[in-house]
Amino acid sequence: MTTFAETPFVRARKRNELFAKLVFGAMAALLVTPLLSIVAYLVIQGAPLLSLDFLVSNPSNGMRAGGIWSALLGTIYLVTLSLLIAAPIGVLAAVYLNEYAEDNWFTRVINLAVVNLAGVPSIVHALFGLGAFVLAAGIGRSVLAASLTLSIMTLPVIIASTKEALSSVPRAFREACWNVGATRWQTIRGIVLPNSVSGILTGVILQVSRSAGETAPVMFTGAIFFRPIPEGDPFAYSIFDQCMALSMHLFSVTTQVNGAPPALPYATAVVLLGTVLAVNATAIGLRVYLRSRKKW
């Protein structure tokens, strides 16, 4: 087989190609390295304190010792309650936008509102939660008020991913269903939702990760600096109580507590980051699995 000798032009071209790939690759790599190095660094620094005992014991000695139990439980409360509020509203809103809404100005306004809701700064959500739920609605600073604030803040996450899941169901499925005489809702209930349920689940999981990490919106609506609760009792908070939250606890031990052992904030950060990343990885894994199984 004869090959042509590389002319200088071709060689220059190949070099150029490789150079471009390296430059852009380096840019991407510089974004990826922080994630890995940060996680590794936090885990190494927090390692001395990380144990099951750390998770299930209350902070003690002015938050300089002990674990994170009451903060962890508070975050679980906030996340669960905000999920219960946001998931139905978000899924139904996406059903409306994808299945009922016509393409007119009103729908465009709704979509714009969703985009803007996602763009409102978290501290403004906090002001809203304080003004609307804590003061105007008279709920007071509580798990409920904080969860309501979180659920409105995370609504766009659920709406966006549910919409995507619904729109990936082919139109032919719906048409077939309508043609055998099913009503719109019967079609949605029997065909569209079952075929997109896992995609919707992905969005719900992402909402969980988002609300677990938020600090500013809960800081003024229900989270409290310190509050010990009975260890090991999962029903220690009522929804009208103020609670501790993991994200705010990390903020407090980092900035407001002096003399804590250096590993304490690291261990807290590892638990928070680990939870959020694990939840996200679950959502991503689910999505990858779904894509591989998709039949249409």
């Binding site: 471009a20 790939k21 852009f24 690759g25 840019m27 991407a28 974004l31 990826v32 922080p34 994630l35 940060i38 936090l42 620094q45 509203i89 978000g90 139904l92 809103a93 059903v95 409306y96 009922y100 809404a101 306004v109 509102a113 969703v114 985009v115 803007n116 809701l117 763009g119 409102v120 700064p121 978290s122 501290i123 403004v124 959500h125 906090a126 002001l127 809203f128 304080l130 003004g131 609307a132 409105i152 709406i159 809702w185 988002r210 990490g213 938020e214 600090t215 500013a216 800081m219 990390l250 980092t254 904030p265 950060a269 928070l272 980051l273 959020v276 990343l277 996200n280 991503i284 990858v288």
Partner: protein, 322 residues
């Protein structure tokens, strides 16, 4: 079971029951199930418009708390254009947010100066140079990067970047504009990559093939063909990044040093609009002037991010129309 299988035609009584004689009474035409369905459809419509209600709700309630000051004692010009922020001074209370606006601005501008080249570069890499496994992995890592909570970023700013910046730049304090901007850059890059990649994906392959057929190199293809045709999408990506950076609270509260001054270099500490609200809202008593002014800052932030997001949305809509 067998009887059921054999029976092909209905009995006469079944037929009589099934065939309506005369016009159906209304309750037959709309049985309970149909009413339930109707109610459900209205519930779906209500949820559909809820996003609008919430955006108005946010504006209304933030406005309501701040209105007393905004239309009363507050001199808007002095509020926006003086830099004396002494909300708790006993003798002479002054509310000037110029330093805070400059603080937010400086951190955002520096963050974008870092994030835009890297974000768009990574978007180009993901969209043009990668395929298959590598592409999927990179997108997943960038998605995970987006998931890191802002308070964790703030903690990284204090515990990792602070000593690092002190060491590298010989700065007296590592909590400064540079620290905050680096964190904000890392935080806003994921959204730029994902939107930017969408924009590049929307450029038809025939454009790339045409450029290659004319003998252009990868660089030329990127500069002369891809960037111009994906320009609006990339602009939207940058705008969304700006929106994210302006509104970010916890990371800048913890990492920028939170000291009230107009920065002269990137190694000076500053204080931002968002951080001021977060730091002072807990101390201001409900209904006081200070409390209301913090809500006015909230209105200011809401307005800024609203218009930035609106601009991004219009730019994206512009592409879809083409």
């Amino acid at each position: 079971m067998e009887e059921d299988a054999i029976k092909v035609s209905p009995t006469s009584t079944e037929l009589a029951e099934a065939t309506p004689s005369g016009p159906e009474p209304p309750w037959r035409r709309r049985p309970l199930e149909a009413y339930a369905e109707l109610a459900l459809e209205w519930l779906i419509r209500l949820c559909g418009v809820s996003a609008i209600l919430f955006v108005f709700g946010i504006f209304f309630f933030v406005f309501r708390e701040g209105a007393g000051m905004l239309f009363g004692k507050l001199d808007l010009l002095r509020f926006l254009f003086t830099k004396e922020w002494y909300p708790t001074s006993l003798s002479n209370v002054r509310y000037g947010v110029l330093a805070l606006i400059i603080g937010t601005g400086s951190v955002t501008v520096l963050a974008m100066a870092i994030a835009v080249p890297f974000g768009l570069g990574a978007a180009i890499f993901v969209s043009e140079f990668c395929s298959g496994r590598v592409k999927e992995t990179l997108k997943i890592v960038i998605e995970l990067l987006a998931a890191i909570p802002s308070v964790v970023w703030g903690f990284i700013g204090i515990s990792v970047m602070n000593p690092l910046i002190q060491e590298l730049f010989d700065a007296s304090i590592g909590l400064n504009v540079l620290n905050g901007a680096l964190l904000l850059a890392l935080m806003s890059v994921p959204i730029m990559v994902s939107i930017g990649e969408d924009a590049l994906k929307a450029v038809p392959d025939s454009h790339r093939e045409a450029a290659l057929a004319l003998g252009s190199t990868r660089w030329q293809t990127i500069y002369r063909v891809l960037l111009p045709s994906a320009k609006n999408g990339l602009l939207a990506a940058v705008l969304l990044g700006v929106g994210r950076a302006v509104g970010e609270t916890m990371a800048v509260l913890m990492a920028t040093g939170h000291s009230l001054n107009i920065p002269r270099s990137v190694l000076d500490p500053v204080r931002t609009l968002t951080a001021t609200i977060a730091a002072e809202l807990g101390e201001a008593s409900v209904g006081s002037d200070h409390y209301q002014v913090l809500f006015v800052i909230g209105i200011l932030l809401f307005t800024i991010t609203f218009f930035v997001n609106l601009a991004a949305d219009l730019v994206v809509k512009g592409i879809k129309k083409q």
